[in-house]
């Protein structure tokens, strides 16, 4: 799955606190974890924070990994959960920001993220279009968003996506259809706004 060797033996070694095994797992999977998180939060620094949280949880709970799902599925599940938690936290922070102020009290940085996001893995000429797409994906309901990111951005097939989301393949197909419809609707509105302001 996902061109990765079976990582289960590594997890049992990590469960015993082995740093070398942890680094091997990190090297083999960091790209998947980081890119998935990046698709959700659209900020490099935040995606790195989530990646840190994911690997800390992996290290802590590696010993409890029973192998019901594959190790990579488990890793994706943790990443998706952490990313969605991060987005919820951001949403709460945004609401609170209206009551307090719009800037971070420590750094003075604006708390509201800009809509334009340049994914570092996208070629320059597609950056603008990708920024529009990721902004639209951000408005999808959580399940549609997860299905879309895993299948359309991360490139997992529907079976793999279903395993990560713990739902049926049919449910994934349905979520992807609805996600694409919703994206088209939102983009159509945006097109009209852009061309007939």
């Amino acid at each position: 799955m996902y061109d990765l060797a079976d990582l289960s033996p590594l997890l049992s070694t990590i469960g015993r606190g082995d740093e070398a095994a942890f680094r091997t797992l990190y090297d083999q999977t960091r790209s998947q974890v980081f890119n998935t998180a990046l698709s959700y939060v659209r900020q490099r620094e935040d995606a790195e924070e989530i990646t840190q949280d994911v690997y800390i949880e992996v290290f802590r709970s590696a010993g409890a990994f029973r192998g019901e799902a594959s190790a990579t599925t488990w890793l994706y599940q943790i990443t998706v959960r952490k990313s969605l938690d991060w987005l919820r936290h951001q949403k709460r922070q945004k609401r609170f920001a209206f009551l307090t102020n719009l800037f971070d009290t420590n750094t003075g940085a604006i708390l509201h993220y800009p809509a334009d996001f340049g994914h570092p893995g996208i070629v320059l000429e597609q950056q603008e279009n990708a920024a529009i797409l990721f902004a639209a994906v951000n408005h999808l309901p959580d399940k549609q968003k997860t299905a879309y990111i895993l299948a359309r951005v991360e490139g997992l097939n529907n079976i793999e996506t279903a395993e990560v989301m713990s739902i049926s393949v049919g449910a994934v197909e349905s979520l992807l259809t609805r996600a694409t419809e919703n994206l088209k609707k939102r983009l159509a509105m945006q097109y009209k706004t852009l061309n007939h302001p």
Partner: protein, 101 residues
């Protein structure tokens, strides 16, 4: 849907085709390991010990509470007998002034 709108939407949806994987900072693994090490250092006692201490404290509180509920009369009796002694021996102060002549 207008043809140009359709084309634009399809171009947006296809913008992630051929996406290259982005890499996190090269120092991220060291950061993670540092966080793990510092958190382990923050916990000099095991979780089991913490739970044992918490349980012992709860048991102690419950026992004290139970004992206090079972023997409230003793305190009242002691207070009553003390008052009897005070009244029998006229131990009330004649005046509130200390060292009165």
């Amino acid at each position: 849907m207008e043809p140009s709108q359709d084309t634009w939407i399809n171009a947006i949806l296809a913008s992630t085709d051929g996406l290259q994987r982005a890499e996190p900072s090269p120092f991220l693994c060291a950061k993670i390991w540092n966080r793990l090490s510092s958190r382990q250092a923050d916990l000099p006692v095991s979780g089991r010990t913490v739970w044992l201490a918490a349980t012992a404290l709860i048991v102690l509180i419950v026992l004290n509470w139970t004992v206090a509920l079972q023997h409230p009369a003793t305190t009242r009796t002691d207070t009553a007998s003390l008052q009897t002694v005070v009244s029998d021996m006229n131990l009330y102060p004649a005046t509130h002034q200390l060292y009165a002549k």
